[in-house]
Amino acid sequence: MAIVVLKDKCKGCKLCVKACPFEAIDMDGKLAVINEKCTSCKQCVATCKFDAIEDTDAGKEEEVVDLTAYKHVWVYAEQRAGKLMNVALELIGEGRRLAREISDETKVYAVLVGDKVDQLASECFAYGADGVYLLENDLLKIYNTDGYTKVLTDSIRQYKPEIVIFGATYIGRDLAPRVAARLNTGLTADCTRLDVKVSSYIDYANKNTTLDTSDLDPNSTETGLKQTRPAFGGNLMATIICPRTRPQMSTVRPGVMTKIDRIEGATGEIINAPVELAASDIHVEIVDVVKSAKEIVSLSDAEIICSGGRGLGDPSGFDLIREFAAKVGGVVGSSRAAVDAGWIDHSHQVGQTGTTVKPKIYFACGISGAIQHLAGMQTSDIIVAINKDPDAPIFEVADFGIVGDLYKVIPEIIAEWDKAEELYSESLHHTA
């Protein structure tokens, strides 16, 4: 333990015993003694009036991190109840791309944490993992912050990956910051783009952003992770680097990276990582895990999304949106205003605080196009906006804009949908 009591300075005043939030200090006569409940919170160090308690880690010269000792890309392959999350497979695809860009020897590993999760390894291989680390223990059956943080941190210290990426799920965003803080390394939240090669970053920036890339050298051999993410509600994009510490860590939004095409029968190396975990390491008791009965909305996989906003006017408006989605083979989405009004469940929400989507077609019906909404859908292949206000900002990003009442326009689209082929060839005929 890093906290020590200096015998010659301790006066036996017991201030620290009172200050300790964890009952981790006992008195041995007139001397304070730190017991095994100590979490290194350093409250006693701050409280002691006699400088008699020290954190032995604090003064220590920071270890100079040998960056070259860190190799390979790790993807935290999140599973819940023995099922892999989609984002895990997306990130394996992305991790593979990054690994190949770093060097021929760099590999992408999926890291499976849980209890008896080895059967998921083949799925990881099929989506591009070169290898799989298994971190198994019965105390890891259901996600818990303490257990998962401990085993993952231990493995990262032992195997020294260069990059570790997590899905920015409700669990990934609980686990990754805790792991990064324990390792004293950087973590970038909710990334929507990752690059290692400067040339790839330049290509991306030139195509998608207003960034002036003229000061970047496309021939640079530097391969530090460049992590791009929205900030200020999508008003600004920032690319973050982690130059001095390892591993470089990010959480990545579900739905933004692409899985590779499944490679049937692919295999690879499986490493059973040592796991040291005791029940006393875990401080939160799981009473129950409740899966909501609500329909599973897989917005991030949808090819077509029909979204409704406040412009629907009332909750029954979603009946029309559902009918529309059923006709075109789409999934129902919504703006936050519609969720806040209680018209539809949050799981349908698209945007900064909802799901990020990039379907082939995104229909925005009665949605004004607030920046937070755009942040979640503007990379859709085709955006169709239907809005009665010709000045609605949604039209600025729409490939096709229709000014009109959605209650009149959508029924016509539904009625005409099956005639699209015919209408198209007619239109060709006319112009030909």
């Binding site: 701050a46 965003r173 910051p177 390394t185 900030a231 920032a238 600025e396 005409e416 949908w417 699209a420």
Partner: protein, 271 residues
């Protein structure tokens, strides 16, 4: 013994009001209202509800930020918090989440020293300007506290030692039990924050808000806080390129609009 709660709050620009300067392509911050971060208001509200039930509860709101962040602390006092504490120093500027959590953990220790400990730290899940959701868990790590994030329902046993929460997941929720002291982070589903009260506003004007410098906190600007100590740095920042405006479909009737749209979609090979 009174139950002691520390609430972490941040003053943030209202991201709805932010505009991009079309020439310089940078954020126009002037005239953008600074507000109490939404999720933090939920954290404070839950603390206030504990105080409603157990009136001897003591609530300290802490923040790190520029001197103006005092306004936000006053707002929190006006809502019902007992005191506000500001950690403010140029040496803290440019901190990333790792460094920020060092400064805030030191602030917690300082408050605990003053008030004789704490039982619960409540933070918002994330701030609307950075959206990282990292500072809460990273503080918990540095304070050696167990954590539960994404709290949407909260209940504390009468012994004031055991807390039961519903923690949101994308596909449901977990019911979890945790012992004090601990760190929780709130989401908006947890509650609806109250308004400031007239009495509270008066109260706020009467209160001194202590300000701690990096030296007061005992944090090292080279190794623990600020730009240079932060493991992450900004490499580049820019505004997203506006997606080019497409075609507006002009037609006499809705049927015609629909037909033109379908032809357009066909011509792009998406249907």
């Amino acid at each position: 013994m009174a139950f002691k709660i520390i609430v972490c709050a941040k003053q943030v620009p209202d991201t709805n009001e932010i505009k991009i300067d079309p020439v310089t392509k940078t954020l126009k911050r002037e005239g953008v209202p600074a507000i109490l971060n939404h999720d933090d208001a939920n954290a404070l509200e839950e603390a206030l509800r504990i105080k409603d039930k157990y009136p001897d509860t003591h609530i300290t709101v802490i923040t790190m930020g520029p001197p103006q962040a005092k306004d936000m602390l006053m707002e929190c006092i006006a809502m019902g918090a007992d005191e506000g504490v500001l950690s403010s120093d140029r040496a803290l500027g440019g901190s990333d989440t790792w460094a920020t959590s060092n400064a805030l953990a030191a602030t917690v220790r300082k408050v605990a020293e003053k008030n004789g400990g704490y039982d619960l730290i409540f933070a918002g899940r994330q701030a609307i300007d950075g959206d990282t959701a990292q500072v809460g868990p990273q503080m918990a790590e540095k304070l050696g506290l167990p954590q539960i994030t994404y709290v949407k329902e909260f209940e504390i046993a009468d012994d004031m030692k055991t807390i039961t929460v519903k923690r949101a997941l994308e596909d449901g929720y977990q019911i979890l039990k945790i012992k004090t002291p601990c760190m929780l982070t709130a989401i908006k589903e947890l509650n609806t924050p109250r308004y400031m009260s007239i009495g509270g506003i008066y109260e706020a004007t009467q209160k001194e808000i202590p300000t701690y410098s990096a030296a007061d906190l005992g944090v090292d600007p080279d190794k623990e806080v600020g730009l240079l100590a932060s493991p992450t740095n900004v490499y580049r920042s820019f505004t997203p390129a506006p997606k080019g405006k497409g075609v507006m479909i002009e037609a006499e009737t809705e049927k015609e609009q629909a037909d033109k749209l379908l032809v357009g979609l066909k011509s792009k090979f998406v249907i």
